[in-house]
């Protein structure tokens, strides 16, 4: 493996580099984009009164409310995440992270999973950070373990879980253990079976400016646009799917244990609720046994429509097509195992 100037010993195919100001081509293109955008916004603002009655359909409005609320809820966490990922890309010397983590995956993956506890917030923050970690030279399996663990085991989420299940600390412990286990298992499976070429490196572009500040702001901008764009895709999908979730069917399933676990897992994927809040939703699903609700809590931050979309944006479609089902299966299994033991 040849060391490159971008970062540590990584495999040959490297992330393309961009200058923060943009080459003339990119800048002209950027100028066009900016003008189009401005035009679009001005037209939209101007035509509001004209279009007053057009969007009155209640189904459309309900969909829009849900879509917009998912996007708004995620936005502050996305901003936090890209600020962290930008800082990572710029402040941490290239290769340092890769050298700081243990060499052997069997140790690096659990370490990265535990490290996930330091990044507060929901999954929207963890995807861009994981993308930058990988680009900085961290082994993909470790970066992915971090990405899976952080939305589920950070202090904000654990406190929220404790509040939602008062007097039942074993639920918090179970969530922590099951999510950590999931992230480690998926990381280890990936290090064994995953192939580097499934990750689309071109999606994470290194931005180098004349000053550190320029590199930082350029990176944050890149990450925000990319992750944010795909977040919108995920939010639209989640809003659409929500319209089709047959709640009465869900209630009918509550009796059969395994079926209930699967259904709650799928519900977690479809609902795409932020990990700080899914504890309250799980607490309200009283008709389900506690360990099936743990499945809901473990699957949600690990794989849902929003996450899948963002992973496509940051790592590529080939990655997501393999990673999402793997994570789902492992998450359900880990949750049921830990649930049986602790709950």
């Amino acid at each position: 493996m040849t060391p490159t100037e971008e970062g540590g010993p990584v495999s040959q195919v490297e992330s393309p580099v961009r200058r923060a100001g943009g080459e003339p081509e990119g800048r002209r293109g950027g100028l066009l984009d900016a003008r189009l955008l401005l035009l679009l916004v001005v037209v939209a603002l101007g035509s509001r009164s004209l279009l007053a009655g057009v969007f009155d359909n209640p189904a459309l409005q309900t969909w829009s409310t849900i879509f917009v609320s998912i996007a708004i809820q995620a936005l502050p966490f996305l901003v936090l995440g890209v600020l962290v990922s930008g800082a990572l890309a710029v402040l941490v010397p290239p290769g340092w992270l890769a050298r700081a983590l243990p060499r052997r995956d069997a140790v690096a993956v659990p370490a990265a999973g535990l490290a996930g506890a330091v990044l507060p917030g929901c999954e929207c923050a963890s995807v861009p950070v994981a993308g930058r970690l990988r680009a900085a030279g961290v082994r993909p399996a470790a970066a992915l373990a971090f990405m899976l663990a952080s939305p589920a085991i950070n202090p904000v989420v654990l406190v929220a879980t404790a509040v939602a299940f008062p007097g039942r600390p074993e639920v918090v412990a179970a969530r922590f253990l099951a999510s950590l286990l999931t992230s480690v298992v998926v990381g280890l499976v990936w290090s064994r079976l995953g192939r580097d070429e499934w990750i689309d490196r071109a999606r994470t572009r290194l931005v180098k400016g004349d000053t550190r500040w320029q590199s930082f702001s350029g990176t944050v901008r890149e990450d925000f646009l990319q992750a944010g764009g795909w977040l919108v895709v995920g939010a639209m999908a989640a809003a659409t799917l929500q319209a089709f979730v047959p709640r009465p069917l869900l209630d009918a399933v509550a009796g059969n244990h395994l079926l209930a676990a699967l259904c709650l897992g799928l519900l977690a994927v479809v609902l795409a609720i932020c990990s700080e809040a899914d504890a309250f939703v799980a607490a309200s699903l009283r008709q389900f046994p506690l360990d099936t609700r743990l499945v809901f809590l473990v699957v949600g931050p690990a794989v849902d429509v929003k996450l899948i979309a963002m992973q496509v944006g940051v790592f590529g479609g080939r990655f997501a097509a393999r990673f999402a089902p793997l994570t789902f299966v492992v998450a359900v299994a880990c949750a049921l195992l830990v649930g049986r033991w602790l709950l």
Binding site: V41, F55, E222, G229, G313
Partner: protein, 237 residues
């Protein structure tokens, strides 16, 4: 694009507009994110402006970081907000949900004190007490609830309100069947209803029930919708 999203976020954070979608507690975070994005947009513009002149002699000019790519999609929620201006969830969404179980079985704390002759209760609390309270704290009490009209098939209506934990995506509707109000009401009209609960034995299990508690109305007042149309009651847990 950062300018547009940042400005939108700042506006959402500083006004009541976000209350239709997310909890009020998120507003400072929204405003802060908006400021961060605006600062970044300014930095990008300035930074590109001071970049050294390109070999082809063109000055940096208006300057921008580069193409938007997937970032274009970020305009969609902004446009939807501007053009559709989606309202808080209302009778359409409420009528599509099956009635949910919500509440701890067993004993509830005593009712709060009445204000102006009636006990004001959130709809979700009223429903929880009506369905689950073994001590039947609602019996004999005159209560006041605020909600919006969801028409019934049979010609009557239910008074509903959504309870939200995180954002509108996880909203759950709590509904009360209102009797004794002969005036026809529009869907989504907000009403302040004072009346008494029609007692029924409490539910003994937490399995979902299709029962809706009945409120026999004594005074119904149409009101303007509140700034925050959702309840944020963890009481049902």
């Amino acid at each position: 694009m950062l300018l547009v999203v940042g400005a939108t976020a700042l506006w959402l954070g500083l006004t009541d507009a976000s209350l239709a979608y997310v909890r009020a507690a998120l507003r400072p975070a929204l405003a802060a994110s908006g400021l961060v994005l605006l600062a970044l947009a300014a930095a990008t513009l300035r930074g590109a402006g001071s970049a050294p002149a390109r070999p082809d002699g063109r000055p940096a000019g208006h300057g921008h970081g580069g193409r938007l790519g997937a970032g274009w999609l970020l305009i969609v929620p902004v446009l939807v907000l501007l053009l559709v201006a989606p309202p808080a969830l209302g009778s359409f969404a409420a009528s599509r949900q099956a009635p949910r179980a919500g509440g701890e079985t067993g004993a509830f704390p005593p009712l709060p004190d009445p204000v102006d002759g009636a006990v004001p209760l959130p709809v979700s609390e009223f429903v929880s007490r009506a369905l689950y309270d073994e001590r039947q704290s609602l019996a004999q009490a005159r209560v006041r609830v605020l909600g919006f009209v969801t028409p019934d098939d049979g010609g009557g209506y239910r008074l509903a309100r959504f309870n939200v934990f995180c954002c509108a995506a996880d909203a759950e509707a709590y509904e009360v069947a209102v009797r004794g109000d002969a005036t026809p009401r529009r869907a989504d009209q907000w009403l302040l209803v004072e009346g008494r609960w029609l007692p029924e034995p409490p539910l003994t299990s937490v399995a979902p029930s299709s029962r809706r508690p009945v409120l026999v109305a004594e005074a119904v007042t149409p009101v303007r919708p509140p700034a925050d149309r959702y309840e944020h009651n963890l009481y049902g847990i």
